[in-house]
Homo-oligomer: 248 residues x 2
């Protein structure tokens, strides 16, 4: 009997063109679908909570798919992991109602962005963090972040080439954690536009370096102009951290 | 004028056949020597504190080399880093006396070995940690580690194919740190045999899983037989962490 399964998957995005299947590169989605075919013999089409870009990582991307397999859901992660590469691993699986949708039932998403502040680049963090030069003030970044909280039209933080029409989103929280030379931003909202988190980090780094005042973030949002915001920082510091779903 | 320079270098060893130059693979040493040639125009031969194996990482490998360059020593890391790949970066440089030798002046070495304890493998830690299954008792590992402390003939922890004659070393400390699902071993000694740290971790995991009693570590050391010790665990969890030198 065909059932709907919800999977949580962790991946190191370095080697992939992103989550979503594409013609011009290997995606995480494609690798997972191949593993499902190998283990279950079914040509499943999986639906992720949303896309992640090339080089972006996930602690817990979520997807659903319908399968007729006889493998018990508790065994599926073990079985699929034998067919997955080291940089993509299933962490969890459960059975959900047929009206559950990994994309449309998502209520809240959390991303984290990892940086380290250092004169020299760190070889061991090249794939996992953004290298930031000393002189950045995390307190200023926090003050700038306050203007992002709440419900706004975030058109200014949308990649210039995007066709999205509805650019209103709500950001619930932004926190910064500093440990040693590492600075991590954690951001939660009801959803994020294409490149939005990376442009927010780029803009807040402009604030942190004193290039623009924290209050300027308010003006940038009000302008709705991508050109006033900071640059899109590198993908390797970004991690899809958590998806919260409506009560089922 | 030719001066002797001491460099500290960080590297992600995943892509390399180890520190030492070899005919059948790309080594960290070779990549660093090429960068020196590119920046300084000198065919330098660099001397590391010791070898690290294929896939083993370093937070702070140390090497010395003699150069006639006019580039001030404080600028050398910046200059060399422009010619080095993302996974090898110079962290520090200073001028030392001609009698300083990165290998023979080393007094103390510290390695760390990173593990995580989890039912499923972690995609984001595939290159950086050893995956250990639940059921391992870190307290037992600590008790087993106590028998390793001090000056012993560590022949039992030497790779079977090694030709080394003097197998006596002194281990000053072994500490375990647990944070979340991660378990890290830190070991300091006057030097380590080929594969010694990885065989120690393999042996202590046998203790941690209850396969052998902690006291058995003493017997294994006394036996001097490689076959009684645990297996050589994977290289990706191992990091050369610190080298301490004699006062100069």
């Amino acid at each position: 009997m065909c059932k709907r399964y919800l999977f949580t998957v962790e991946y190191d995005g370095t080697a992939y063109c992103g989550w979503q299947k594409q013609n011009n590169g290997l995606s995480v989605q494609e690798v997972v679908e191949r593993a499902i075919f190998k283990i279950c013999g079914e040509e499943a089409s999986i639906v992720g909570s949303g896309r992640t870009d090339a080089g972006v990582h996930a602690y817990a991307q979520v997807f659903h798919t319908d399968l007729s397999t006889n493998i018990p859901y508790r065994k599926l992660p073990f079985a699929l992991n034998t067919a997955l590469p080291d940089d993509i691993k299933i962490k969890n699986c459960r059975v959900v109602n047929k009206d559950f949708n990994a994309r449309f039932s998502a209520k809240e998403k959390t991303y984290i962005y990892k940086m380290y502040i250092s004169v020299h680049a760190s070889a061991l963090r090249a794939r996992t963090h953004l290298h930031v030069l000393p002189g950045v003030d995390a307190e200023l970044m926090k003050r700038g972040a306050e203007y992002i909280l709440g419900r706004h039209d975030f058109k200014c933080f949308l990649a210039a080439n995007s066709q999205v029409k509805d650019t209103v989103r709500e950001v619930y929280s932004i926190n910064f954690t500093k440990r040693g030379d590492e600075l991590t931003m954690r951001i939660t909202g009801n959803g994020f536009l294409y490149n939005m988190v990376r442009i927010i980090v780029g803009t807040l780094l402009d604030v942190g370096y004193g290039k623009i005042a924290p209050e300027r973030v308010k003006t940038i949002i009000e302008s709705g102009e991508r050109k006033f915001a900071g640059k899109t920082v590198a993908p390797q510091g970004l991690y899809l951290y958590k998806i919260k779903y409506k009560k089922r």
